[in-house]
Amino acid sequence: MHEMALCEGVIDIIEAEALRQSFSRVKTVWLEIGALSQVEPDAMRFCFPVCAAHSVAAEAKLEIISAPGEAWCMSCIKTVPVKRRYDPCPCCGGYQLQVTAGEEMRVKELEVA
């Protein structure tokens, strides 16, 4: 359940930003979570209100934007879409893949008041 630690990281980032940009209440938090990242969105949704309690994001709504996975196929010499880490290349069926996108775990933006 490392999502708990990740959620604490999200709240730390928001609290630091609240001081820097002078806001006291967060209405919505947008996270960008890659399809190949180490985050289970449902676990994140479960942990978020627990970690957010007593913070500026205590009443915030959590929105998760999913970023698609992409890999460079060394056989096809091109970028291909991948849904999971162990998926074969959709073009050649091989596994000579280097992940190039979809590992994002980011706090993207906030709606604040």
Binding site: H2, A5, I13, E17, L97, M105, R106
Partner: protein, 231 residues
């Protein structure tokens, strides 16, 4: 200042990595290891794959050659650190309590409490867990995933993140293979589906089989890290 009739709501762009703070601390650890010419490995596996037994064997074979220290991560008990200390190597036990992984801050604190091991090896034995430790950079040179022959061949597919994050897979308990239906070729194939670059060595911490190849891998990787740092 509140202006009646004007909404105070606004959108704030953040674009910050959730693990940014951990990654910064990991870079601090990495710089400290480099300054002391310490080669650090982060050992990960499921519980019971034999990480501690591998370390005990490695320390007994290499302790005359280079200084070695160990940071032990477990939810509870100091049993593993005691097993390491029995070999004569210094060990710090980190109990993560409810936590499921070591993070860069815990490793930085533990490293500061260890005696100096300039030019030596630091082994970080992570919490036995094939999921969470994959996400956390500790400042190590490489993650090494320990997989034992008593586990299913499809573990690299079931827990792909850890095998994707590791540079080396040590297949431990190779001495048990005659008594098992273990398919080595299939295990390696599955691991390379997830990570085409992963290196693989078969070892037995109990009999010592294959351990020399692991020591040679450490020597080669430590030398190439030192060469990179010198550039």
């Amino acid at each position: 200042m509140h202006v009646p009739g004007l909404s105070q709501q606004r959108i704030v762009q953040i674009e910050r990595d959730i693990l940014g703070k951990n990654d910064e601390l990991a870079q601090v650890n990495r710089a400290r290891f480099a300054a002391a010419r310490v080669f650090a490995l982060n050992l990960v596996s499921s519980p019971g794959a034999g990480k501690t037994a591998l370390l005990v064997k490695t320390i007994s074979d290499l302790k005359g050659i280079r200084p070695i220290a160990v940071i032990e991560g477990d939810q509870q008990t100091s049993n593993d650190a005691e097993r390491i200390r029995a070999t004569g190597a210094p060990a710090i036990q980190v109990n993560t309590g409810k936590g499921c992984h070591l993070d860069a801050s815990m490793v930085g604190d533990a490293f500061a409490r260890l005696p100096a091991i300039d030019g030596g090896l630091l082994f970080i034995e992570n919490v036995g867990n094939l999921v969470c430790p994959a996400a956390f950079d500790l400042g190590e040179a490489h993650k090494v995933v320990v997989f034992s022959t008593t586990e299913g061949e499809d573990k690299p597919l079931k827990y792909p993140d850890m095998f994707a994050a590791s540079s080396l897979m040590l297949i431990n308990k190779i001495d048990l293979v005659p008594n098992l239906d273990f398919d080595l070729a299939r295990t390696v194939e599955y691991a390379r589906r997830v990570n085409p670059k992963i290196e693989v060595l078969t070892v037995s911490a109990k009999t010592g089989e294959g351990m020399k190849a692991f020591y040679a891998w450490i020597a080669k990787r430590a030398a190439s890290l030192a060469a990179d740092a010198a550039e």
